[in-house]
């Protein structure tokens, strides 16, 4: 799996991608710093909904991941290089796994760095709070990655479909339709933060920590299996 992991890192680390990821990842940190030091600091629950949930977990993280994970296979399909990989004796899961890990390895440092720095700034170095935010975002990162990698295999418009999903589903519906929280990665990420540090998102109703963890693992496994299955059954260009 090493050669495919390295190949994926090479494919996903273009200069412009790094610049865009850096800019996006720094936005929540800068915004948090401005809010915290401003003369009219918001209440904690307001801040968490606006910055941690909507901005970081619901926008910045999925935007970075969709730009990286959906092209992990998407570029191979567009460039017709996927056959190089599928015409090998590797079991299909050994092609999917390094692609997912490669996407995680590229986007992870930016997103986790952003989560850690945002938590550090916003919660005044409260280690539990920072850990909760970083863990919640980290688990969301894995769920988003598995979903967008699969999306890159099933449609050539993965980035467009992914953006629609981020804006409509995670951004709009999950914020306003109560039942959506059971089907929203953002809401599972915040539930995880609450489970680790009950002070976080204290005013909301959350899925239990154990259930959240199970669902997170389940989502990753389901999309990993779907990607593997797709690679077995698709017509490779």
């Amino acid at each position: 799996m090493g050669p495919l992991f390295r190949l994926t890192l090479n494919q996903l680390t273009g200069r412009w991608r790094i610049v865009i990821m850096t800019v996006l990842a720094s936005l929540p940190v800068l915004f948090s710093a401005l809010v915290v030091r401003g003369s009219r600091a918001p209440f904690v629950d307001e801040f968490e909904v606006i910055v941690i949930s909507t901005m970081l977990a619901g926008s910045i993280a999925p935007l970075i991941i969709v730009a990286i994970a959906s092209v992990a296979f998407g570029n191979e399909v567009d460039d017709r290089t996927l056959a190089n990989l599928t015409l090998s004796p590797l079991p299909r899961w050994q092609i999917v796994l390094p692609k997912m890990l490669g996407a995680l390895a590229v986007s992870g440092p930016f997103i986790l760095g952003s989560a850690l720095a945002t938590g550090f700034v916003a919660y005044n170095r409260d280690a539990t709070a920072v850990l909760a935010v970083a863990t919640g975002i980290g688990v969301g990162l894995m769920m988003y990655t598995s979903f967008f990698v699969w999306l890159g295999l099933v449609t050539k418009q993965a980035i467009g479909v992914g953006l629609l999903y981020i804006v409509l589903w995670e951004g709009f519906f999950s914020g306003y339709v109560e039942g959506i929280r059971y089907f929203s990665i953002r809401r599972y990420a915040t539930a995880l933060m609450h489970g680790i540090d009950p002070r976080r998102f204290a005013g909301e109703v959350h899925v239990e920590l154990a259930a959240t963890s199970l669902v997170a693992v389940g989502v990753c496994i389901v999309f990993f299996v779907l990607s593997t299955r797709r690679l077995r059954t698709m017509d490779v260009p």
């Binding site: 090493g2 004796p89 059954t233 017509d235």
Partner: protein, 308 residues
């Protein structure tokens, strides 16, 4: 003694995309040696090759290799090397790194030796450290071939492999394929450069409009096309008088007189014509200076089948 099992067996294979039938009920068997797959653009060659490699599924029928299904059978790719018609390379990679990666994902035991051997076989040792984005098209093709043969496959499926190669590279490539075939490999090569396929392939499969129009040795195919008018060019001392005599032969369908005085005879039975023409000329006291077949090449056979 029974015939050896074919390496590749294609049985009643069809493939359609919506209402478009790309390949229709094609059956054939391929054994060791070089087999040429011919057909005009859009005939279904690439779709057929993709089904033979397992890259695409069949709508109907089956494809097996070494008795095993080719689709969703990764273990089979230890024994197969496939080179698609597209320039599927990673332009940011160095040539040697590309071949090495392909060797590793195919689990070649001694990677370094295999990589150097494959690159030497395609005569690209000096360019192996350059990025593939800087290669000419012919160089990319050769490095792709190195990656295709690096795991020493028993079966090679090459879709338009000579694209972009210069004449020297073509000769080198042909010699390499002959050598690989002589070692007992099964090689399927698709090309629109018919002369090269004619020179290389022992067996030819002609695909037209998604159907197998003919298969077998080049001469066998030619013989099978007995309804086809056979073009023979005749230079004679009195071409106009000879034309009047020849057109009455039962083996001749038509005669045209070229502006330069040569006759182009369309025969429906060239064997009879070979016997009758000298007799006729002798009887009419017309000197025959030259008799030459105009269409004893794969290209002409191919052209005829395409037009039919």
């Amino acid at each position: 003694m029974s015939a050896p099992d074919p390496v590749i067996r294609v049985e009643g294979v069809s493939r359609w995309f919506g209402s478009v039938v790309a390949v229709s009920d094609v059956s054939f068997e391929i054994g060791p040696g070089i087999t040429g797959l011919l057909g005009p653009n859009g005939a279904g060659k690439t779709t057929l090759l993709r089904m033979m490699t397992g890259l695409a599924g069949v709508s109907d029928g089956s494809v097996t290799m070494f008795g095993q299904p080719v689709r969703d059978n990764p273990a089979l790719y230890r024994r197969v090397g496939v080179m698609s018609e597209h320039e599927t390379v990673y332009t940011f990679m160095r040539g040697r790194d590309f071949v090495r990666m392909m060797a590793k994902i195919r689990r070649v035991p001694n990677v370094d030796d295999a990589v150097e051997r494959a690159i030497a076989q395609v005569d690209l040792v000096e360019a192996a450290e350059k990025r593939m984005g800087t290669y000419s098209r012919g160089m990319r093709q050769r490095m792709r071939l190195a990656a295709t043969i690096v795991h020493d496959p028993e079966v090679l499926i090459l879709d338009e492999p000579l694209n972009g190669a210069d004449p020297r590279q073509r000769v080198h490539f042909q010699n390499l394929l002959r050598r690989l075939a002589a070692e007992g490999r099964t090689i399927i090569i698709s090309s629109h450069i018919l002369e090269e396929v004619e020179q290389l392939a022992e067996t030819v499969l002609l695909i037209i409009n998604g159907k197998l129009a003919a298969s077998g040795g080049f001469r066998a195919i030619r013989a099978a096309l007995d309804q086809r008018p056979y073009h023979v060019r005749v230079l004679a001392s009195d071409p106009r008088r000879l034309a009047g005599e020849v057109v009455q032969l039962p083996s001749v369908d038509a005669v045209n007189v070229d502006p330069d005085g040569g006759l182009v005879v369309l025969s429906n039975n060239v064997r009879d014509l070979q016997v009758e023409l000298p007799r006729l000329a002798q009887k009419a006291s017309i000197g025959l200076r030259r008799v030459e077949p105009l269409d004893d090449s794969l290209e002409s056979v191919f052209g005829y089948l395409v037009e039919r």
